[in-house]
């Protein structure tokens, strides 16, 4: 908004913020401040994202030509495995909750901090230890099971560093459990006076729903990985058919966590979009309670669909039918959200600032990702496209087109709150455009490739598929440019960016009522909430004064 830039000339950084309250390494590494921990997480997950991106680049480079000429197939197996493991457990699962969630949830509910600051700090250290195990596995030669660790491949046959990777994921899981636990207790017990459940911002609702999944799902992954480790280390036989064990049981236990984990990744993204759309449409969100409850519905239904990953694994027809049916049910709460966001736009006064561009991209890309998920939930189509690039394209539309785009939308939206500085608008808009184009160029051809039958996880393919693969690889390089740009101009803005002021977008929500950046305990005086969350319509258009 141009007014923000004009006024910012007169704005000054607040004197007492969480960033300048104390200095030195110890004041960060031993902090209990949720905002500092969030910033430490921003740095750590960005590094993991870059690492995962390097593996993705190598994968796309290999697929430029039909012959497997750049890497041996064993090396290629390692590359896509490590891309998946690093991206999912190092970036996507923690992403929005540990950064934006950590920073914003206490402020949004009107609290001085999360309920358990020490546990919050511990969760960061646990995450770092988990990542250290993963990095050790990567440096010492990597792992090639695929990110799913299917048994008995992972327990009997492979000699790569499965154990280290599994331990790393197990440890990182506890970090996730602690974050979820902290959010749940904070939302229940730490709300400011007047902050009722139905005045909570939808970002809080969706992170709350994601926390429920973290708390209920992650322990099952933990015990599954412990059994895999025991099986691999001591040959106990629970998943080994030679000893009477059942490998499909592993798949059940793995997907019991890993399907809901998809919703851990996407639900917080929904929350970001629910904040941005009303702000830049200058309109009250349409269907607040429908969006709030649909988050909870997704968390609940999400636990009842896991076997749709296993239609070809030999599960019974009846259970396949039921899992397919429940999969279709999950589409309902997801569609409720999309329709409500669209209805919010209707007759809104829409401003195309960078966060809004990302948010609009999210709606389109997530819808494609979600609808192709229904193709895969239908047993017949699933049989046809299982383990092809159709699946790869589908989940990248949800994970990258959905989650990553939502993360970028949120990082732009709250960057002024987190740092006190505005990101530069022109390059930011450009990056949103480049990401959108690059993303579609990368992954849309993969839908076609998958439908034609190109299997995933192979380093070579028949020459007639080269054109689409070249398009995809070209798109990946465009996408990489779009994703690297924010890293540079965000860092640039820390020093040279315009001072943002407390509320550069004239947004509602408690986080915009405190200073940018907020003081250590978030508010100089704990606010008393008297209004609903998205009261944009009572703001008259003439009030353009910022701060």
């Amino acid at each position: 908004m141009s007014t923000a830039t004009q006024n910012s000339l007169a704005l000054e950084m607040p004197s007492d913020t969480y960033l300048n309250s104390s200095y030195g390494v110890k004041s960060w590494f031993l902090t209990g401040d949720h905002k500092r921990i969030a910033m430490m997480y921003v740095v750590s997950i960005s590094l993991m994202f870059l690492l995962g991106g390097v593996f993705a680049t190598l994968v796309r480079l290999e697929l430029l030509t039909p012959a497997g000429d750049l890497f041996q197939s064993d090396t290629y197996n390692k590359l896509f495995t490590m891309h998946g493991v690093v991206m999912i457990f190092g970036f996507l699962v923690p992403s929005i909750p540990v950064t934006l969630g950590n920073f914003l949830i206490p402020i949004m509910v009107g609290a001085r901090d999360l309920a358990f600051p020490k546990i919050n700090l511990a969760s960061w250290y646990i995450y770092i230890i988990g990542m250290a195990f993963m990095l050790a596995a990567i440096i010492s030669g990597g792992v090639d099971t695929g990110w799913t660790f299917y048994t008995p491949l992972s327990t009997q046959y492979l000699t790569t560093h499965v154990m280290f990777t599994a331990i790393g994921i197990l440890i990182a899981g506890f970090s996730s459990i602690f974050t979820g636990l902290n959010f749940i207790v904070t939302v229940h017990r730490m709300r400011a006076p007047g902050m009722t459940w139905f005045r909570l911002p939808l970002f809080v609702w969706s992170n709350y729903a994601a926390s429920i999944i973290m708390v209920l799902g992650t322990p099952v992954l933990a015990i599954t990985l412990i059994l895999v480790a025991l099986e691999r280390g001591l040959h106990i036989g629970i998943f080994n058919p030679a000893l009477g064990g059942d490998p499909v049981l592993f798949q059940h236990m793995f997907w019991f966590y890993s399907h809901p984990a998809v919703y851990i990744m996407i639900l917080p993204g929904f929350g970001v979009i629910s904040e941005i759309i009303p702000c830049f449409a200058r309109k009250r969100i349409f269907g607040y309670s429908a969006i709030a409850f649909s988050s909870i519905a997704i968390a609940v239904f999400g636990f009842l669909v896991w076997a749709h990953h296993m239609f070809i694994a030999g599960i019974s027809t009846y259970s396949a039918l039921i899992f397919s049916f429940v999969t279709f049910l999950v589409a309902i709460p997801s569609a409720i959200k999309v329709f409500n966001w669209t209805a919010t736009l209707y007759k809104g006064s829409i401003h195309f600032d960078t966060p809004m561009l990302y948010a609009l991209a999210f709606i389109g890309l997530f819808t494609i990702g979600g609808l192709t998920g229904l193709f895969l939930g239908a047993i017949g189509v699933d049989m046809h496209v299982t383990a092809t690039y159709f699946v790869v394209a589908h989940f990248h539309y949800v994970m990258v087109g959905g989650m990553l785009v939502a993360y970028l939308a949120g990082m732009h939206f709250w960057w002024p709150k987190m740092t006190g500085k505005m990101y530069p608008e022109a390059p930011a808009k450009l990056s949103a455009l480049i990401v959108f184009i690059g993303f579609n160029l990368t992954f849309f051809p993969q839908f076609i490739l998958g439908y034609m039958g190109m299997p995933r996880r192979y380093h070579s393919y028949p020459p007639e598929w080269q054109v689409l693969n070249v398009l995809s690889s070209a798109g990946a390089s465009v996408l990489a440019v779009g994703l690297l740009m924010p890293m540079f101009y965000m860092l640039w803005s820390l020093k040279y960016g315009a001072v943002a002021g407390n509320n550069p977008y004239r947004a509602t929500g408690l986080e915009w009522q405190t200073t940018s950046p907020p003081p250590t305990h978030n508010f100089h005086e704990i606010p008393i909430v008297t209004q609903e969350a998205y009261d944009y319509e009572s703001q008259t258009e003439e009030v353009e004064v910022v701060g």
Binding site: V185, V215, L216, P219, I223, L227, L234, I236, G237, E525
Partner: protein, 241 residues
């Protein structure tokens, strides 16, 4: 809430007992939040053990004859004694929480030491049981042989395929009781810490949430055993009809 109330809250916040952490407004909120947090943590624990219970149920149905043979080979009397020991330790723990609420420091220390003693007895008996299984070659892995000493003991060897399947029972037996024992060991560690702190008077009647939360944890670990004992020792001894 009126302005005057807010001022009171903040005033109360500025000069009060140091045990009230900065993010909380009142001691009640602090106690309430940490207890709620403990309950959420226990729910994660239920899911953790739930995975094992699920695997147990599936294999019990698949391999019932192996389950009967393997379950019958476990020492029921040691398991029963351990169950009694653990239930008593829950009683002493509850008495400890009660003493903390009353502000009886010496009693609190006494009950915590009693809990520690009973917990250690449980772990000792468990170690004896594990050793028995080791001697009988019933630990899954390279040395596993269910029929190893059955002939010497005057029992009929069971068919080879069933004997192989018993290793799944024992894998789950060791995973389940092992995870339970790990929780006990962690509990014993925390107990030692609590005893030291309680002796120094760290848990006055208005600030003993730590003891209460640990009590919840200890009872939870106890309840896990209350499910493990019948599943592993009792109900699988006779075949399903």
């Amino acid at each position: 809430m009126s302005d005057s109330q807010t001022t009171t809250l903040q005033a109360a916040h500025q000069h009060h007992d140091p045990s009230l952490l900065v993010q909380f407004d009142t001691a009640f909120q602090q106690k309430d939040a940490s207890q709620f947090g403990m309950w959420v943590f226990l729910i994660t624990e239920i899911m953790f053990f739930g995975g094992l219970f699920g695997a147990y149920l599936i294999y019990r149905n698949l391999y019932n004859p192996a389950w009967v043979a393997a379950s019958s080979s476990i020492d029921i009397s040691l398991g029963a004694i351990n169950t009694a020991v653990l239930i008593c330790s829950s009683l002493t723990m509850a008495m400890g929480v009660h003493s903390a609420a009353l502000g009886a420091r010496k009693l609190l220390v006494f009950w915590l030491v009693a809990t520690l003693a009973l917990g250690s007895v449980f772990l000792g008996i468990k170690a004896v049981e594990y050793h028995q299984k080791y001697v009988e070659h019933h630990i899954p892995g390279a040395n596993f042989d269910f029929n190893y000493d059955r002939v010497e003991k005057g029992e009929k060897p069971i068919p080879a395929d069933v004997a192989t399947q018993t290793s799944i029972f024992f894998a789950l037996y060791f995973a389940m009781t092992g995870m339970h024992a790990l929780h006990m060991i962690i509990g014993v560690g925390i107990l030692i810490f609590l005893i030291y702190r309680a002796y120094n008077g760290a848990y006055p009647p208005h600030h003993y949430t730590m003891v209460e939360n640990f009590g919840l944890y200890w009872h939870f670990v106890d309840i896990i055993w209350i499910f493990l004992f019948p599943l592993l020792y009792l109900v699988s001894r006779s075949p399903v009809h």
